[in-house]
């Protein structure tokens, strides 16, 4: 929904839309991820234990506070850590008796913002980095959220509606839509290439992992490029990289097997930082020339 269409709404809704627009976008995103958490836990027990949430959230927030104080001299807003903690507790599905993936994942996610920087800017979405690392480095211990969402249309619809509204309000709808459009087009292409059912190729988009991905990761303003056009290109490139991983999976390329459980997340982990580095490098050169 654009501002112009919102203006056409009845007065109270239009005013609410405008007020939401003045909020720190992270509050809206926090609301959405909390909604997913509450819905998922109430209906499906998606967490698999409140200890997982407590650890992921606690370590994320504590790491953010400690590292920001140590390295910047002040305590950072913990909104980002809150989003990261919940994302990790939802997306990480380790072996049932293991809690360390939540503690280490949360620490690595937040610490990556302070350590993996290029010219003062961090490169990875924190959750994206931590989950990618855990999946690749600890496959015997960690899996990704896959079907723990009841496979129900109604829950999907609620999340998609709120998600689209909120990414629209934080002005990232173009990223989500670009990615989704590219995914669908490439799904059709994959279906044609491998000769499999189209529905099977589209199906991942309705899964819980993708809802978190399209609303929280690929749209993260801190780790994508600065222009709308650039962000759309990056989103399209992520979809293309994901397609490459998926095709490799379809053709059983053994060397890329660690990437198959979460192609979208790992595609973003590869494409996102490269795009960010190129943009920072180019903007530095432009400034120097100026």
């Amino acid at each position: 929904m654009t501002d112009s269409t919102a203006a056409a709404l009845p007065g109270p809704f239009s005013a609410l839309w405008a007020r939401l627009g003045r909020l720190d976008p992270r509050y809206l995103v926090s609301f959405l991820i909390t909604l997913i958490l509450v819905l998922g836990e109430m209906r499906y027990g998606i967490l698999g234990g409140y200890d997982r949430l407590a650890i992921a959230l606690g370590v994320s927030v504590a790491t953010e506070l400690v590292l920001s104080r140590m390295l910047r001299g002040w305590f950072a807003n913990v909104q980002s850590a809150y989003i990261t903690g919940i994302s990790l507790s939802l997306l990480t599905k380790p072996r049932a008796d293991l809690l360390w993936p939540f503690a280490l994942g949360a620490f690595l996610a937040i610490a990556s913002k302070y350590v993996l920087q290029y010219r003062g800017r961090h490169l990875w979405n924190p959750s994206n980095f931590a989950i990618s690392l855990l999946l690749v480095a600890a496959p015997a211990s960690v899996a990704i959220l896959s079907h723990q969402w009841g496979n129900e249309l109604a829950t999907n619809a609620v999340i998609w509606c709120f998600g689209l509204l909120i990414v629209s309000r934080v002005r990232m709808l173009h990223v989500t839509l670009t990615y989704v459009a590219c995914f669908l087009a490439l799904a059709a292409l994959r279906s044609w290439i491998i000769g499999g059912p189209m529905l099977a190729e589209v199906a991942p988009l309705t899964g819980p992992m993708y809802q978190l991905f399209v609303f929280f990761m690929v749209t993260d303003p801190k780790t994508t490029v600065s222009t709308a056009r650039g962000r759309m290109i990056v989103a399209a490139l992520v979809a293309v990289a994901e397609m490459a991983i998926r095709l490799a999976g379809d053709y059983h390329v053994a060397a890329l097997a660690p990437l198959y459980p979460a192609p979208a997340i790992l595609a973003l982990a590869i494409v996102g930082p490269v795009a960010k580095v190129i943009e920072i490098y180019r903007s530095r050169n432009v400034r120097r020339e100026t």
């Binding site: 499906y44 590292l67 600890a138 496959p139 529905l199 199906a203």
Partner: protein, 588 residues
Amino acid sequence: MSPLPWRRLVVAAAFLAAAALVIVLNRRTVRAGASPGAPSFHFTDVAARAGVRFLHHGPTLDPRLDRVAPLIASLGAAVSVADVNNDGWPDLYFTNSRFGFPNALYLNQRDGTFVDVAPEAGVADLNRAGEGVSMGAVWGDVDNDGLEDLLVYKWGYLQLFKNTGNLRFVDVTERAGLKRWMNANSAVWIDYDRDGLLDLYVGGYFRSDIDLWHLKTTRIMENSFEFADNGGKNLLFHNLGNGRFEDVTDRMGVGSTRWTLALAAADFNGDGWPDLFLANDYGPEELYLNDHGRRFVLSRAGLDQDSKSGMSATVGDVLNRGRLDAFVTNISERGYLFQGNNLRLNFLPELGRFQQGAEGVLVDAGWAWGAQLGDLDNDGDNELFIVNGYISADRNQSYWYAMSKIAGANGSVFEDANSWPAIGNASLSGYERSRVLKLLGLAGWSDVAAAAGVTDEYDGRAVVLADLFNRGVLDAVVANQNQPALLYQNTLTPGHHWIEFRLVGTQSNRSAIGAQVTVEAGGRRQMEIVDGGSGFASQNDRRVHFGLGEVSTVDRVVILWPCGSTQTLERPETDRLHLITEAAPPKP
């Protein structure tokens, strides 16, 4: 160096250390539970030497299911134990699952060998077009005539065979009122109303209106990977005692339509009435508590919090606490899914629920199927034998990625088999090695399979434990899908004592199915129940076996018969099998 760069270095070092720790802890996860040394028991596959040359053949289905046929046709290898001719030696019944391929009844020759007598006995040729194919079998003396009768559950019509003696069986299905088409993968005998007659509970998998060879639709699959409720309806048949059974499912409230893969019956809450425990695929486990034989009540009992893929239900006093616990196998695959096996420790009396007790190597046994508890080394503690592996085809191709595409989709998508990616010749959790887990006290469970000689990588489905050669030692028999059966003979290091009981009911059902036997020896208590069907597609010997370690005397044995009476044996002799007949009730 200024303070800021110094701090940056500290943070960077911590970051690298955390990343390294992920790798180290992952390696520890892989190695956790590795055997510290050779156990005091060793298995040797003697199937060929013993004459057990059974090769399972999976079903061929409607061609409309071809793209996912290996996924669907992956069930049917089953094994159950019974002394069919009352000679005191356990015999073995294996099921086949393809039209024209016979089931086998291996009669124990008492010399370490077996002979298949199924054709002469009339229980071989059961897999016929129009009739369905076998998925498993359970034995029980339904008419209390002293001979074990046979119920074969199928994707097709149930079949009940009356044992007429002299190794002959007669199909009495129609007369018994059991001619019902079900796509069943489990059944258990249970005397739920304690009237001394064995009743029958059968678990439906696919809906019963589906004929897998003549499909009207390809919308036959589960409607959720977590909370599917479109499976076959489970049925409870009450034994009327005149050779007939009555369908009492709705009246008793046990018509679950989850995708039940395994059943067990035992008195979990200690009220003297046997309850029903269901392991459901694509859904949570269910416990139906028996309300004095009048009805069953679905209890939450802490089972609804984990929705997984229950494959097997094993009941036993796992930790020798005097309680009947349940062990349920599930699916684990690196990177994709860690559902983890469930050890449901029974805290129903105190907390009204089970507590999860699975940890370490017990949690992950791959794509696990049948499991059985038993004291394999006669030391007085339980071991767990778990078989696993789903589809072993091309080692270089895995279906996991393809399946992960559809796993998160809306249920109405994958309910249609035509929406699934074709599996071709790919494996799916194939070539997994069976697990033999030994409890090492506070150190937890340790996998001793390789050291104990269990090294096969077959697609195991069912496993039973039985003292096949009357030596006071539990051997293991494994039925593998599309592969040969294994007969693991157990060799023990001498020095441990044992005791076994064969129970004969008089007021209770003659097979004594459901009886609880508690042995008190050396200050310890062990409890076992007489099995009416447990694990996955399997049934152990009706004889119960207890290891005693170095304790050579048993103080007391308490038998709680299915009808509710208690019988106590003082200081029975050890290292032998006791035949115990249920005492007549005291005269008023």
